[in-house]
């Protein structure tokens, strides 16, 4: 597959406020988003992900850098001249129009013939399964239905890129899960490039082809979900995506000495002081006496149904969480205060040089 670039940001800077007190919402961000992919911008609130989206939509002008759409510079083009549409967090449906009129709005503004507007609107209504609601006012719809209208409205003019600004944040958990699957289906069916903004790491992992993790106005890491999860490049990415254990260690030959004094094997590194990370599901509970096992004492057990989180303290007090699958009998035979051995799956250990 030859991959062409749909959207590219080159050294984009966005500062708000006046010279001395200016806050850099985006600090020299460069990213290439491929045609037809589901790209997610993930980060905590205030990290600049929405600002980047608004720059691509054209609602804001960058303080520096360029934005390209399929190779053409669109940095200074107003939003109504960009073949890019947005699904807003608040949906921003037009209250004076019906569902069908909302969906047809973009095409109508483009001056398309009435027959085309009607045909496309009908197709979009079918795509989001709202045929029965065509003549309702948007205020008569539920949150999930409004969400679908917002999607259909943004998809109707067949934009080159669809921007989604935390569109699922107002929905309850069950509906959110449904819409995640729905969004993925729509993206595959239409083949349109989706740029999705969210602060929900699970949402990002389940839906995206690639994720860009942002923090403090900078892109920390860009890559497919598995890479982001399994090979975080820094402490921020490791802690923001999923749960993880951080273990300070010093290099000792080709092994690392944990602060509790025990040496373990892990991928090579050049730094003397490092942090080892290991996901809770890659920590095994073994007998205390077993060779290579890290001695620890259970401090807490949290039952989650499918699994149990076992918090254990190493000799120096560093807490490690192990995720254990609940056994069929329902009782793992563990108790707080019990001494156990911990073993890390060696290839799952990540070395962060900080």
């Amino acid at each position: 597959m030859t991959q062409t670039i749909a959207v590219e940001a080159r050294n984009v800077v966005k500062a708000f406020g006046h010279a001395d007190t200016a806050v850099r919402a985006l600090d020299d961000v460069s990213v290439q988003i491929r045609k037809g992919e589901f790209f997610t911008l993930l980060g905590p609130s205030g990290c600049g992900k929405t600002t980047l989206l608004r720059l691509i939509a054209g609602f804001e002008m960058p303080s520096g850098g360029t934005i390209l759409l399929e190779g053409a510079d669109i940095t200074t083009l107003p939003p109504n001249k960009r073949p890019v549409n947005t699904v807003f967090q608040s949906y921003a449906l037009f209250p004076h129009l019906t569902v069908a009129q909302n969906i047809g709005f973009g095409l109508e503004m483009l001056g398309r013939p009435k027959s085309e507007v009607q045909a496309t609107t009908a197709r979009m209504l079918a795509l989001v399964k709202l045929e029965a609601m065509a003549n309702r006012k948007t205020s008569q719809l539920s949150g999930g239905q409004q969400q679908r209208v917002a999607l259909a409205r943004a998809l109707a003019p067949s934009p080159k890129v669809l921007l989604l600004d935390e569109p699922l944040s107002a929905l309850d958990l069950k509906l959110r899960k449904e819409m995640q699957i729905e969004l993925k289906r729509l993206q595959l069916e239409t083949g349109i490039t989706f740029i999705f903004v969210t602060h929900d790491q699970e949402e990002a992992l389940t839906m995206s082809d690639r994720i860009g993790v942002m923090s403090a106005g900078k892109l920390q890491q860009v890559g497919p979900p598995k890479e982001i999860y399994n090979h975080p490049v820094n402490r921020f990415v490791a802690s923001f995506i999923g749960e993880t254990n951080f273990l300070p260690a010093s290099r000792d030959g080709d092994r690392y000495r944990l602060d509790c004094g025990i040496k373990i094997a892990a991928p090579a590194s050049n730094a003397a002081r490092v942090t080892l990370t290991i996901r809770p599901e890659q920590v095994r509970l073994v007998a205390e006496t077993e060779a290579d096992a890290l001695p620890a004492k259970i401090t807490n057990l949290v039952y989650f149904g499918t699994d149990t989180h076992c918090h254990a303290a190493l000799l120096d007090g560093t807490e490690v969480v192990a995720r254990l699958q609940s056994p069929a009998s329902g009782d793992a035979g563990l108790a707080v205060g019990q001494s156990v051995g911990l073993r890390f799956v060696p290839e799952a250990i990540q070395v962060l040089e900080d």
């Binding site: 939509a57 054209g58 609602f59 107003p78 939003p79 109504n80 890019v84 549409n85 947005t86 807003f88 608040s90 921003a92 449906l93 037009f94 209250p95 004076h96 129009l97 019906t98 009129q101 709005f105 973009g106 503004m109 483009l110 003549n135 409205r153 943004a154 003019p157």
Partner: protein, 303 residues
Amino acid sequence: MSPAEQAQITQSTRNGWLLSAPALVLLTIAAVGPLAIVVAYSFMPQGDFNGVAWGFSLEAWQGILFTKDVFDGTLAWADANLTIFWRSVKLSMLTTVFTFVVGFPTSWFIATRAPKARALWLFLITIPFWTNLLIRTFAINEIIRKEGLLNTILLKLHIISKPLEMIYTDTAVFIGMTYVYLPLMVLPLFASLDRFDMRLLEAAYDLYASPFQVLRKVIVPIVKPGIIAGSILVFVPSLGAYVTPRLLGGGKNMMIGNFIELQFGQGRNWPLGASLSVTLLFIVTGALLVYVRHANRETTHGQ
């Protein structure tokens, strides 16, 4: 429903009516009473010196459109009356349109300020209400009269070579009424713009609407209730305006309000004054019906 429940409901309904009775009686008398007297007067003959005489006569109603020749009693179109009606309607419509043209950007400006600044701007808009209308109208007179502020400045700047004749013209009345009624347009417009979700602008802009289309297809339809309310608040009092045309229009550029006053005053023709008042009521009602129906049709037009 049990008989006990039924009795309770009947009882509370009766209590409700009894409690509201004093207010209802008062309101009915206050609202219907004066109007009934005016209607009754319009069907009575003219009194000898003043007021009305007992009896029934359609002369006052005839007098709205026709004048009777004093000698042979033949009827002719009352051109003067028709001119006054037409001037009233024309000036009121112009005032309504112009207060909207000026008031909309003003309201938009206020509605897009920070909440604190908004209160200040609204406060400034309402300041003219604190002074008497008469004094404000004299102030306008001072500005636009022949040796007034405006003419003096324009002459000094050599923009004009001789003073503009503004005072005692329809233009003067129009300027005065626009000034007086502008806040009545701004306040309801602001109330609707204040509730307007500004995020819809971005949505429309994102969906390829030009700035003008954003205004026409999104803002205007959504704030239409405010536009209707503002237009009514300006048009209705404009039509019956009295002080402004009197002071700025001079004696000859009368509007219906002045004409009615003339009948009850110097004209000593109370029945005609009464029939004119009722006619004004009909013009206002008719204009409002046409306007509101038209405004609503436009909303459903696209569906």
